[in-house]
Symmetry: C2
Subunit: 450 residues, 2 copies
Amino acid sequence: VRLLVVGGDAAGMSAASAARRRTDPDDVEIVAFERGVHTSYSACGLPYFVAGAIDDVDELIARSPAEHRANGIEMHTHHEVVAIDVQAGAVTVRDLDAARERREAFDHLVIATGAAPVRPALPGVDAEGVYGIQSIADGIALRERLDASKPARAVVVGAGYIGLEMAEAMHQRGIDVTVIDSGPQPMSTLDPDMGALVADAMRGLGITLHTDTRAQAFERDERGHVRAIVTERETLPCDVVVLGIGVRPNVELARDAGIEIGVTGGIATTSTMATSAERVWAAGDCVQTHHRVSGRAAFVALGTHANKQGRVAGINATGGAATFRGVVGTAVTKICAYEIGRTGLTEREATEAGLDFVSATIESTTRARYFPDAQPITVKVVAERTSGRLLGGQIIGREGAAKRIDVLATALWAGLDVEEIVEVDLGYAPPFSPVWDPTLIAARRVAVLV
Amino acid sequence: VRLLVVGGDAAGMSAASAARRRTDPDDVEIVAFERGVHTSYSACGLPYFVAGAIDDVDELIARSPAEHRANGIEMHTHHEVVAIDVQAGAVTVRDLDAARERREAFDHLVIATGAAPVRPALPGVDAEGVYGIQSIADGIALRERLDASKPARAVVVGAGYIGLEMAEAMHQRGIDVTVIDSGPQPMSTLDPDMGALVADAMRGLGITLHTDTRAQAFERDERGHVRAIVTERETLPCDVVVLGIGVRPNVELARDAGIEIGVTGGIATTSTMATSAERVWAAGDCVQTHHRVSGRAAFVALGTHANKQGRVAGINATGGAATFRGVVGTAVTKICAYEIGRTGLTEREATEAGLDFVSATIESTTRARYFPDAQPITVKVVAERTSGRLLGGQIIGREGAAKRIDVLATALWAGLDVEEIVEVDLGYAPPFSPVWDPTLIAARRVAVLV
């Protein structure tokens, strides 16, 4: 049996590794193609490398090509798969060094082509000094630039996860940072009241935030280097620009092969990570998945899903049985001392999903109120009005705040209602929590509205 | 309607407050009796007051008698309820200041008499300098003694939660601390392999730990003050002793009134916190509750349950409907930089409950491996062998480790199996977690054994 894997990052190599662990190399040959030079790197770690918190970019590489080979995976870097022939069970792969193409047969195929940062089609977007952050090469290029030219002013376009993390990275390097976002608040995955807290936090840190502001063009200096961003309102001078306006799944290869693409733009997959083509599986940032709370299709590019989906694809592609039954939309991030967590549906998303809801927002502390270093935490919980079913949660606070979202994420996963959540036996001791954990206080507050 | 509450701490005043919030003072009179002078204090905070991390003992008081009165609760301190007449619907209460008794009628009664530290019947146990830590007065007395006489050597009897917290407190004050425990390991609520990690941590901190060691007597000096603990093996000189060998529920009042006491020694209660007597409810450290995983009766004296049970009793005693459907045995604590969490059943407890199980223990980090300040974390997961149902979890690690137990606690509550837990969408970003959260790695490792 021959398993081919397209893409050597989190999803692809999770698939290859899971497949390798459960099969004998004499029975199953596992071959992976990566068009770049790195494998299994943490894209999520790039902001911290750019910030200088991580010194060596190799730290971000969980497993090198050599390590994969030592584990019994035939790993080809600088090899780009350019076509899939589903009928014949073969791919066309280009050896980028030799500039030669060849066909490789497969019994099973895992597509893990990832995603690419959105680059808006604006005048000057290709100026030097305008960075998207997805690959290790992107991170290295930006960090080298920051080290070498010590820019004074940076503009980050987009106030989502990547935007906030890149703003933090450059702020920590002493760069004057401006963040612009086309929406009315940072973190559009939060409700406006919670987004306002993020805006306050950013401004409190000394980061300039322009909401309802759209980039229209990038001005260049005589060397072709970006020197300003032009918006509807003003021209913001800057020495470096980072684009954080999201990613788009790389699905051309799959689409050209006749594999079904979902409504979100990602490759349509089932709970076994099967695609519409027999014996072709897909995983990671290139796929569409299922949102368990809204019941709708979702595109969520996140390393944790990539790893889980890859494992499931690798197990199923080698005759095992595993499932990835969707996401509940959990995410955490931080900007300097401020932590942000969210899961499930916001009020806006609940409305879009046609759900009638109630919500409550509470303020508490991460430790017992009297314990040294107790930090403020704000928790919002959204529940279905009639059933009391938990729909989502949002958290903003300081150290110890964000990962509390996991309680609500697990409760969402299990379909608990808010009255049940109030009862859940969470860990309590003064260094760790008030006697009522903040998540339970919020659930309790919502429960009385149901 | 007249609601009487016996006991002015967490459970009693949660009941009174929940009742007050949902009723009109013109309809429902709420009267609470407390034999001490303080109300609603955090006994769990006492070790940190003794340590000096909290300066003012008033910080530990969530609501004073005056605040309760301002909220519409008729609060009597220095009043001890000495008898309950269930048939007549009245209690006998002694005004400790006036040394007078009177009868007070009730329509509903909430018993929240708490628990008291076990004092072993050993020679010299009443020596000066031997402290149990349950009341504010205990905490104040010990701290005053430590402040005044600056003892050089302390012995803590019992290496459970209170024992560890008191050992930490005195260690942080620069006192030479020895902990003795009659069992083979500290933290008997953990399995031996995890307990061994706690023992290593304690010794690494410079705390002397004697396991399999039983106190036999306390030696006094000429002033009547403790000067040594005698064990089977040796005599340990010391200037102060703290007893941390557990608590016993205060149930004499209930027993004398003919109310059913459970097999664990706590007052038998239902999921509505009803006792065997009509219109008599009980909550907090004096009650027996239900363990949802073992299906057996359990006695767990913990502030978080006291607050929840009190709320439920207060709601139900005033015509509402709320439930406390048991515990899963979650607990967290720390000793200096080491954090400990546990939930559900250990291997030993699973065996006692007649369950066939599998388990796995993994080592990981609290943040992405490459992120600054990533701390080690060890997670053990126990699951039922045939069904894969989660039975319990144990965690030991440094900062950011313990509260991860909440994911397993919530999963236990909801009855998830380990294969499901592997799928749960937990928050991931490098400052907060490896891409596979340590709890999921442990669940994954167990899932393959099912």
